[in-house]
């Protein structure tokens, strides 16, 4: 169904423009020419963040942290397989998907652990990436409390998932 959305939106916008008698071709070209300057503005801050995130996520420090947190998770009866997804969710979207793929392979896509992991992955976005990208694109250096609010909402999202999924499944 979602495959239809994009062509439909593009089609409707172009037809609407044509009916309103604007030069849709010129309008498209003028808009698209802005792309380069936007991408150029994003590059430095994105590079900085990808460098840091990649060092962190491939260092193995997450596995190291697990061994400390494992008893706590067992005590709270939370499957600790969801911890890496929960921690990496704000940092990297593709890393979470790779972990999810792994969990589906081990437990099957309809198991409780898989559903819980999917909900954690699907109910939030890559907070750090969005903040870096959007603030970077307009040259904001002081982001005030933005990151705190984003990360607190992510933490709340994980807690909500732990409550909602057991109720529904």
């Amino acid at each position: 169904m979602t495959d239809l959305f994009i062509p439909l939106i593009v089609f409707l916008i172009i037809i609407y423009g044509y009916l309103k008698k604007i030069n849709v071709y010129d309008s498209f070209v003028v808009g698209a020419s802005e792309g380069f300057s936007i991408v150029k503005g994003m590059f430095p801050s994105l590079l900085a963040m990808i460098l840091a995130v990649n060092i962190f996520k491939n260092s193995g420090v997450i596995d190291f942290l697990f061994n400390f947190l494992k008893p706590l998770f067992l005590f709270l009866k939370i499957p600790f397989e969801v911890l890496p997804i929960a921690i990496m969710r704000p940092l990297s979207g593709s890393f979470g998907l790779a972990l999810l793929n792994n969990i589906y392979g081990i437990y099957g896509p309809d198991s409780f652990i898989s559903i819980l992991s999917s909900v954690i992955q699907g109910s939030s976005d890559t907070t750090i990436y969005i903040i870096t990208l959007y603030f970077g694109s307009v040259g904001i250096k002081k982001i005030k409390y933005a990151l705190w609010v984003g990360l607190l909402a992510d933490l709340f999202m994980v807690i909500m998932s732990l409550i909602v999924v057991p109720i529904l499944f």
């Binding site: 979602t2 460098l51 909900v119 109910s123 907070t127 499944f169």
Partner: protein, 190 residues
């Protein structure tokens, strides 16, 4: 804040790698990050340009302002700093709509345009405005009706009910959006 996070990620990762003797991993990650970023930019560049083009048609034809007039009454409470009828509402609405339908690729350029017009209203050009933070919180909470990528991954693994995660995702992301907007409000008032 980003500064501290950056230092934290690099220092913890590096110290762990050095103490476990994995110099080559550290070396590889440092040298690779340029290529990874460049590949991402190369993938995102044509998509951004494409949507900026389409969006410009929507803007010049008046579709964008028509759309934003419909959603503006709801947004005006969240963004008291934006003057009535300002183009920022059009971009914010488009970004929200694209996100709700799971069109991440389309949402990003709308979001960047929204940030640009919020920057025009911003007094201090290197400090985030209150509206910008509210707008970003709406994005980072990732409220969506259709988590497209995960559903396709579930189909790939032959799930019996690939769409069974839609309802819990809507409930959870809706509440985390409400929570995010609430603490954003509280923080802004401090």
């Amino acid at each position: 804040m980003i500064n501290k996070l950056w230092i934290f990620l690099i220092i913890t990762g590096s110290i762990y790698l050095i103490s476990s003797g994995n110099f080559n991993v550290l070396n590889r990650e440092i040298l690779n990050s340029g290529k990874v970023t460049f590949d991402l930019i190369i993938q995102i560049f044509p998509l951004i340009s494409l949507w900026l083009g389409i969006m410009n048609i929507a803007k010049e034809s008046g579709l964008l302002s028509k759309l934003s007039r419909k959603i503006e009454p709801f947004l005006i409470r969240l963004f008291p700093e934006i003057p009535k009828g300002h183009e920022a509402f059009g971009y914010i609405s488009s970004n929200i709509i694209a996100n709700i339908f799971g069109l991440g690729n389309a949402a990003t350029p709308f979001g960047i345009k929204a940030m640009k017009s919020l920057q025009n209203l911003n007094g201090e050009k290197d400090v985030a405005s209150r509206s910008m933070i509210t707008f970003l919180v709406m994005n980072t909470c990732g409220f969506t009706l259709i988590p497209t990528t995960i559903i396709s991954l579930r189909m790939l693994h032959n799930s019996d009910r690939p769409s069974s995660i839609i309802l819990p995702c809507i409930i959870v992301s809706f509440f985390s959006l409400l929570f995010g907007l609430m603490i954003d409000r509280l923080w802004a008032k401090k």
